[in-house]
Symmetry: C4
Subunit: 394 residues, 4 copies
Amino acid sequence: MADRLLSAVEADVRAATQAAQRLRQAYGFDDVALVPGSVTIDPDDVETSWQLGPYRLALPILAAAMDGVVSPRFAAALGRLGGLAVLNLEGLQTRYDDPEAVLAEIAQAPKEEATALLQKVYQAPIRAELIGRRLEEIRASGALAVGSVTPARAEQFAPLCVEAGAAAIVVQSTVTTARYRSRRGWQLDFARFCRQQPIPVIVGNTVTFAATLELMEAGASAILVGVGPGAACTSREVLGIGVPQITATMDCAAARDTYYERSGRYVPIITDGGMRTGGDICKAFAAGADAVMIGSPFAQCAEAPGQGNHWGMATPHGALPRGTRIKVGVTTTLERLLFGPTSRTDGTENLIGALRTCMGVCGAETIRDMHCVEIVLAPAIKTEGKRWQLAGAL
Amino acid sequence: MADRLLSAVEADVRAATQAAQRLRQAYGFDDVALVPGSVTIDPDDVETSWQLGPYRLALPILAAAMDGVVSPRFAAALGRLGGLAVLNLEGLQTRYDDPEAVLAEIAQAPKEEATALLQKVYQAPIRAELIGRRLEEIRASGALAVGSVTPARAEQFAPLCVEAGAAAIVVQSTVTTARYRSRRGWQLDFARFCRQQPIPVIVGNTVTFAATLELMEAGASAILVGVGPGAACTSREVLGIGVPQITATMDCAAARDTYYERSGRYVPIITDGGMRTGGDICKAFAAGADAVMIGSPFAQCAEAPGQGNHWGMATPHGALPRGTRIKVGVTTTLERLLFGPTSRTDGTENLIGALRTCMGVCGAETIRDMHCVEIVLAPAIKTEGKRWQLAGAL
Amino acid sequence: MADRLLSAVEADVRAATQAAQRLRQAYGFDDVALVPGSVTIDPDDVETSWQLGPYRLALPILAAAMDGVVSPRFAAALGRLGGLAVLNLEGLQTRYDDPEAVLAEIAQAPKEEATALLQKVYQAPIRAELIGRRLEEIRASGALAVGSVTPARAEQFAPLCVEAGAAAIVVQSTVTTARYRSRRGWQLDFARFCRQQPIPVIVGNTVTFAATLELMEAGASAILVGVGPGAACTSREVLGIGVPQITATMDCAAARDTYYERSGRYVPIITDGGMRTGGDICKAFAAGADAVMIGSPFAQCAEAPGQGNHWGMATPHGALPRGTRIKVGVTTTLERLLFGPTSRTDGTENLIGALRTCMGVCGAETIRDMHCVEIVLAPAIKTEGKRWQLAGAL
Amino acid sequence: MADRLLSAVEADVRAATQAAQRLRQAYGFDDVALVPGSVTIDPDDVETSWQLGPYRLALPILAAAMDGVVSPRFAAALGRLGGLAVLNLEGLQTRYDDPEAVLAEIAQAPKEEATALLQKVYQAPIRAELIGRRLEEIRASGALAVGSVTPARAEQFAPLCVEAGAAAIVVQSTVTTARYRSRRGWQLDFARFCRQQPIPVIVGNTVTFAATLELMEAGASAILVGVGPGAACTSREVLGIGVPQITATMDCAAARDTYYERSGRYVPIITDGGMRTGGDICKAFAAGADAVMIGSPFAQCAEAPGQGNHWGMATPHGALPRGTRIKVGVTTTLERLLFGPTSRTDGTENLIGALRTCMGVCGAETIRDMHCVEIVLAPAIKTEGKRWQLAGAL
């Protein structure tokens, strides 16, 4: 036995060393909790604004560029409240003169036909003239107009955005890097692209220190953070790819800080996806986010174009669809979602109220103070009842 | 691939180092178990008393200042048995001449109207004269009279407590620190406040070493430990904030020991919230608690004013309520809860009997000996059956 | 923020260091798996026997001293097959002339009356003359007669066991240490007791290195390992006490090896409780067990006196009962349980066949070779289906 | 208390040190996720082929040698698509002239009779002449003919395979080592066996560095990796044995790399078992696999002989069966399983499409580039709904 054990231990040490180099633990929203500070602040005194290029935005919350979430009308409403909506420029709004009709059709389709219908309606071509028209509809409301395009179409559509008076442009795909290789020859030169735009370019998504740093060096004005964030995420099941959001945000925030030390330019990072409650959002800021982008909570608002339905841009993919149409229901309004009042006790309404209270309890006067809040690993179990938990008086 | 991998590893090391500084693992009751000692003691010989200022209390268990738990009558009953009840001085007892009527109304309200009703009944003003009256009702029974106030009203109500012969005063909010900042100018100077009171001041809640140390330095006579303790706690969902109780208790106990070394004054810490069974309570003491404060188990006693209902002080909050009215049922009496006998085998009755047996098995003669008991990480799974587990003869 | 963060980090480091000294991770059967060896052995060639004092026993499996498991008749049957049964000398067999009648009454009692009935029937006094009679019934069958007593009655009953020709005596309580303190003056001097007995003394239960070492130094011939082993164990819920069995076994095995180095006397350790399948048993041996003691699997045999019912000695406790009567059903026979054949694929039959196969695959010729098998942390999820897992051909 | 605590700590340190040497954490597919690269590649440009001895195979996917999965007809179909099927040479195909009839009988048997029927039909003797006949049926289709035998029959059946023009031979049992000891005298000398075969010998299964290295040194041309991979695996429940596949693959890949450094010969490792989705397969390659072997997903294809049924070779074992017949259903075709298109969003179709997309996102041009992809620990929770996760546009 002895020599066998010895060689087994030798092998283990070798293997364990190798493994340790690669198998880092990653954490998501449900794995952590925030620790109150030694100083507490009146929630009325905290400051939630953030900076995107030349713009100071009152609320650090963006609406995701998804067709069930953002329409020009929704963007106007969110803008009025201090937030920022991103319109999907390769979706239904730029394929149809009357997207409302298509949205209604999607909303009414039976569950089993939803994916097929989505595949069909997204086969209509994108019409360049509608890009400008939709952005102008947003501008007309007084809100900042921001649209999103994929890297493949960024060079084609960016001029149309600028022409329409867009405040910024989002270049987004599941995973975007500063370096893309294809034998078909095409590749977007991000550095050149960012240099050419007279408006801020927001790029994403990414989850790593290295890729974030490269995109910042290429000139991005903000970075979207998030790839397959959730434990039950389809990117994880289908591709095996994904990084839980707390770790992704911390890593990308480290790149932001490194880049800021090197260059003096502070490029905000926007945690995108996986947040459902005020608690999740507060945790994203503690992990280092300058702003957050959410989809589903907005999709549940009366103002959302999806009429209680929600789907991703990978859903209509012909050969390898990921995600599906989800009935989230119309359960709130934009105003109640952001500012309450609410009678719900699960954190799904009054997101800004929750953020302000959290900042007060943690002694953070600004969003950047939130980056210093202590985080502990404290798994949340989403179980009903069993243990009664009552919050004390505040 | 090689340079890519290298820079990825470099980035990881950087990020992992940063993360390690912040992401400490925290533990709750269900994560740990106690290890028997090398000496065992006759349970009849252990000593469960603890010291609060000038008072020696027989049982290290307090009843939480919640309206469904403590009324003057309940305080009297618990005092007779050796425990200590804290009356909420900003709740129904000080807003209504006849709180029983309001309590009955709450108990009878349908589930869907409960939160709205709570919001309504808590809008009645607090009447200063009722503070003294309720505390005197408790004193009349021979029990120690202790009431709780929020920091904002501490200076206003403390004199009334002293005048009414209170044994101690509790200043409590979800998170209380020695330093609170508000542009509106107000702030409670804890050091001055504690100096001014002729009776012990119990302050809470807190969960960190630093905040506990500051509150002890400010003159607190005892500290309440516990913020968002549970994995399913509403503070966690709504605000993202919370520290599991074993870790919170260990950290605050370390502050107590540090402060004791520095000052020679021993300030007890009281673990507040999240305990449901005798096992949970035993674990709190092993983690360093000098006493524990519980709510739900008392709310289930026939003597409790809630008539089987339980709610927290954050429930009636207008804009961001946390927690709700919970039907816990009337399932036991104070005496059976504390001393048995019981036919239940889930640890929810005979809490003191369980504590004494645990102390005997762990070889701890006193509560402070319990602080030295070895704790292991041994997750409890609250599943039914599957594995039959039978305790041996003791 | 800066100084606040600094002091928070300082506090954390302090607290984390303290915590690390105490919060060791403990592991149970479901947390680990065994790793095949670099040599494999024909299962027909492995040797499963172990040594208890002067006796060589063919099978390293004992039946627990529980009234639903072991009667004289059961002990005879298990002895014939090579195992060892321990009779509870403070249970029904020594309180009643006709224990079968009482056992039948327990088996037929409705669920809600079971605990009360158990409390009642255990109030009959222990009759000294029945101790000898039962042990002689076992001896008459040719099997080794072994009975168990509690420490409090060890000195009184041990002579009766010796007189009746017992092969060994078990002194067992939930937690047994070499040092017990009581103001009532009584304490069993284990060293003197062991010296006085002409037969091996098996002592338990314990879970720590230190307590095991002391009991071995006091002269124990074997140690029973296991206190509150299971995640859902009643000792854990009621008292907070318990150590998962893999860790308990490893710690006590380390004490055995240390004692063997010091003294030259090899004292076997017997892992007691928490095992349900062949896999669990194999893991116990890999963790360092020389033998295992099981209850529930035997309670399910046609030969068991409980007629498909099972309860622990803490169940009839008047003030703080732990555990209850459990209907385990009569699902197998002793022979099938130990040697198969079986058509079950969940590891609950053919325990010895499983052990032999495991030893072969791990390259262990003897039980003591099993102590060197590599163990990995590989949580078992007891879920149905979802992932199809098919074992390959052997 | 003090000395007790000290000796307890001493004991703990001792025990913890011992434990740390043995209790290494092992990881499975659901414990990890892949991290996108800093470079991304057009999925059309990645290269999925691998080398087995003299053969270059287009797809790195093998079908497991199980009777419900591979028949000569299935092998032909998979070969046409670029994959490789292994025929079980000790199963129904070599025991019956007309295996289809027996397969139909198994498919139609009621659930409760399935195991008994399997036990019966596998008692028919293996007929040597059928070995050649089945392999030739595969060859006739143009596909590579590969069959599997157990170590005990390897020397007897290998010449028949060679004679029939087999491309390779698989020698497989649950755990196979280069050293097997039996008092009955027999043992397969792997080094001599491999030397004697004119065709590649694939050996398995194994999970450790040491055993893999020995098998490579003995001359194996490829190694099958996987023993009791799943958390709910029957090998784990029955024998306690098993290593989760990510760790097993990493350890065996380390042995491959070590052997390659020493010898200059690159011996591919094939991760066998436990994969259900495209994500699982991608993770296996990231952990170090050169190819993967799957069973259940193929068993669900219309081309599979089991007609929607699946069972392992340990199922018919007389005394200690593991696994059972599972109704997996006929849910897809070979072509759709491998290449799509699909409307499923759970990763169970278009496995090669998923692999190519994953390689692109991770910046891996070849399978061996995949071995460098960063892996994080990010537990997947297979829950329905609760959190909506939508993949972004790609």
